[in-house]
């Protein structure tokens, strides 16, 4: 039978008291009693110190020990295996949020608070300790425990089997909140995983460098080796220069990057390089200097991207653009040559028409033929001239100037003098703004087209063909209105095709439907706007909004 340790101590104290009392009352010294007395005293002292030094006996009384730790950061718990009771240090409330009276008297209560990730491992280890009851064996681990606030915190947990002062086996545990360190560790692990797993190569380089060289490489991630073929050690020994082709080392961008790093500046550069297998690649380097609190440089971080594919695409794109430009230029030249070749014989036909007019032709049927030939030549010439205008809009380099609106109208009158009947055509000008900022030949063409339309589509039921031209300031610049009292346009039918190519709205009049198309293109190409308001038999208003210079 095993006596509890505290019973032995009590027995020893009683025996020591009796022997002391006996020795005190004896007149003669009995050596045997002396020996017994000192043996008892020595045994007591031995047991006393043994208890002091034995960790099991730290918790002589669970309640006393737990009270002692109430202000500590270390939460202590004892699971009384005999009584199936939990004892927790008071600081459980400050560390985990639970009051001691909230703790259920079951080990399961603790297990339920363990994070699912750690639950199985923790419970297995603790049950193992309970079953083995092996003293002085502990299980140490970091586990996540759910606080009363329903959040998990990391705790350093130590669980061990101890024997109390009466020789009973207890499970004793301690918990220390290590969330701060653990979270920092997780953050560092995440950062490390970014560096290690990044598809971009990441380098850490020294803060100082030799003249004309890149700083020494301290670290490379795996991607660097994947991209360049060089291992960390190879690049540490040979320097970053190893990845570049020799010729590029004399280039301005290469030298300028090294110089920027010398002055501890950021640097982004795209350079041709070669891999260890001698494959030509394009790399984009981004260097960032890192400074300490005293603004002293500590190192550089460099991110390297393999941009070979992008560069190849860029070269292809540039090649394509240059081919397209050449095709466009060829097309332009083709259109000039074609236009010239059309115009040359046509101009002869026009000249011959004029010369024929000097002759009196008496034969009526010959005259009819010649008239037909002249009319067709005139129409062909108009068509060709209009088409040439569309080419010129696309190709011409335009220049802006201030143009007087009144001059434009007068020029139009002069050019259209054959079409304008002085008796029945009336011009009215109300110009609050006198000038527009535009390309002169475009402006002339726009005014000629619109005024010519006003004359061509005049309403013969009206006594006069009235053309009113007004101008005023607008939010963008100058708004010019060209109004007539002509036959108008059915806007419901024609609104959407009004400015289209080869659109005609009045079958009984001459026209090829190219004029308004040209007007709109010329306005739009210089940032202007054009709109139209019209009513059948009432007239038409063209609103021209010319931009002012920026």
């Amino acid at each position: 039978m095993k006596l509890p340790q505290h019973s032995i101590s009590i027995l020893l104290v009683v025996l020591l008291v009796i022997s002391t009392f006996y020795l005190h009352n004896q007149s003669e010294v009995n050596h045997l009693f002396f020996l017994i007395h000192y043996f008892l005293m020595g045994t007591f002292i031995f047991i006393f110190f043994k208890r002091k030094n034995n960790p099991i006996n730290v918790i002589s009384s669970p309640t006393t020990s737990l009270k002692a730790t109430s202000n500590s950061l270390e939460v202590l718990w004892i699971w009384d295996l005999n009584q199936k009771k939990f004892h927790w240090s008071k600081n459980i409330s400050s560390q985990l949020g639970y009051d001691t009276n909230e703790v259920e008297n079951e080990l399961k209560w603790l297990f339920d608070k363990i994070h699912p990730q750690d639950h199985m491992r923790f419970s297995l280890e603790v049950y193992h300790l309970v079953n083995e009851k092996q003293k002085d064996v502990n299980y140490s681990d970091i586990v996540q425990i759910k606080t009363k606030q329903n959040e998990f915190k990391y705790f350093q947990s130590i669980v061990e089997v101890q024997e109390n002062e009466v020789g009973e086996i207890q499970l004793v545990g301690s918990l220390v909140d290590v969330s701060k360190f653990k979270n920092e560790e997780i953050r560092l692990q995440l950062l490390e995983s970014v560096i290690l797993n990044s598809k971009e190569a990441i380098l850490i380089l020294e803060g100082n460098q030799e003249q004309g060289k890149f700083p020494k490489v301290l670290f490379t991630n795996q991607s660097f080796e994947k991209i360049t073929g060089y291992s960390e050690k190879e690049i540490q020994n040979n320097g970053l220069e190893k990845v570049f082709i020799e010729q590029i080392k004399f280039s301005e961008s290469y030298q300028s990057c090294i110089e920027k790093l010398m002055f501890h500046q950021d640097c982004i550069v795209e350079l041709p390089a070669k891999s260890k297998e001698d494959v030509h690649i394009w790399l984009q380097f981004s260097f960032v200097p890192i400074f300490d609190k005293n603004e002293e440089i500590t190192h550089f971080i460099s991110i390297i991207r393999d941009i070979t594919l992008e560069k190849e695409r860029e070269v292809e794109r540039e090649k394509l653009i240059s081919e397209l430009q050449k095709s466009l230029e060829d097309l332009k030249q083709f259109s000039y040559i074609t236009s010239h070749n059309f115009r040359a014989p046509l101009s002869n036909l026009l000249a011959l028409n004029e010369l024929i007019k000097d002759y009196d032709i008496e034969d009526a049927s010959l005259l009819e033929l010649i008239n037909g030939y002249q009319k067709s030549t005139f129409l062909l010439n108009e068509t060709i001239e209009d088409l040439i205008q569309t080419i010129v809009i696309r190709d011409a380099e335009v220049s802006y100037e201030w143009i007087k609106i009144e001059d434009l109208v007068n020029d139009c009158k002069q050019l259209l003098k054959n079409q304008i009947d002085a008796q029945t055509t009336q011009f009215e000008l109300d110009l609050k703004c006198t000038e527009i900022w535009f390309h002169k030949s475009y402006a002339e063409n726009i005014f000629i087209n619109l005024i010519n339309n006003a004359i061509k589509y005049q309403n013969h039921k009206q006594e006069v063909c009235k053309i009113t031209i007004t101008s005023e300031e607008s939010s963008k610049g100058v708004l010019v209105k060209i109004m007539d009292n002509g036959i108008g346009i059915d806007m419901e039918l024609n609104q959407h095709k009004l400015f289209g190519l080869y659109q005609r709205f009045h079958p009984n009049t001459e026209g090829k439907g190219i004029g308004l198309y040209l007007v709109k293109n010329q306005m739009k190409s210089l940032g202007g706007e054009i709109s139209v308001e019209s009513e059948v038999n009432q007239g038409t208003t063209f609103n021209l909004n010319f931009k002012n210079p920026e």
Binding site: S339, N341, A344, S347, N348, L352, E354, V392
Partner: protein, 126 residues
């Protein structure tokens, strides 16, 4: 200096020019050449005979020697400095219009066809 020298590879154009000049009455002396090289040779000939024209009506697109090369050949020759050159062309290429600015001899640009009015305007500007 008298007369007009027409240089054009198109015979119809030359014929029309001749008729228009006659009709305008500005001169009765008309020379012609069918390309730039022939133009240079005839001009040298006219120089020797002391019959240099007052005006050259010059086409640009011609075989053998085009209008630009004709101008390049004669422009630095002191003997021809008093001749007025007017381009008579059907070109629509903006570059051609710009290029004329490089030649001091070129006094004008007429888009074909030549008309009596054009010709009279040119003579008025002399």
């Amino acid at each position: 200096m008298e007369g007009i020298f027409c240089i054009d590879d198109d015979m119809v154009t030359l014929m029309i020019c001749k008729r228009i000049i006659e009709k305008s009455g500005v001169t009765s002396t008309i020379h012609s050449a069918s390309n730039g090289l022939e133009g240079v040779e005839k001009l040298e000939d006219l120089l020797q005979k002391n019959h240099l024209p007052q005006l050259i009506l010059l086409d640009l697109n011609m075989p053998v020697m085009n209008g630009w090369d004709f101008l390049n050949t004669i422009q630095n020759d002191e003997s021809y400095q008093k001749i007025h050159v007017v381009i008579l062309s059907s070109t629509v290429d903006p570059a051609d219009f710009e290029k004329t600015k490089n030649y001091a001899m070129v006094k004008g640009f007429i888009s074909k066809p030549l008309t009596v009015e054009n010709l009279l305007d040119i003579y008025k500007s002399f």
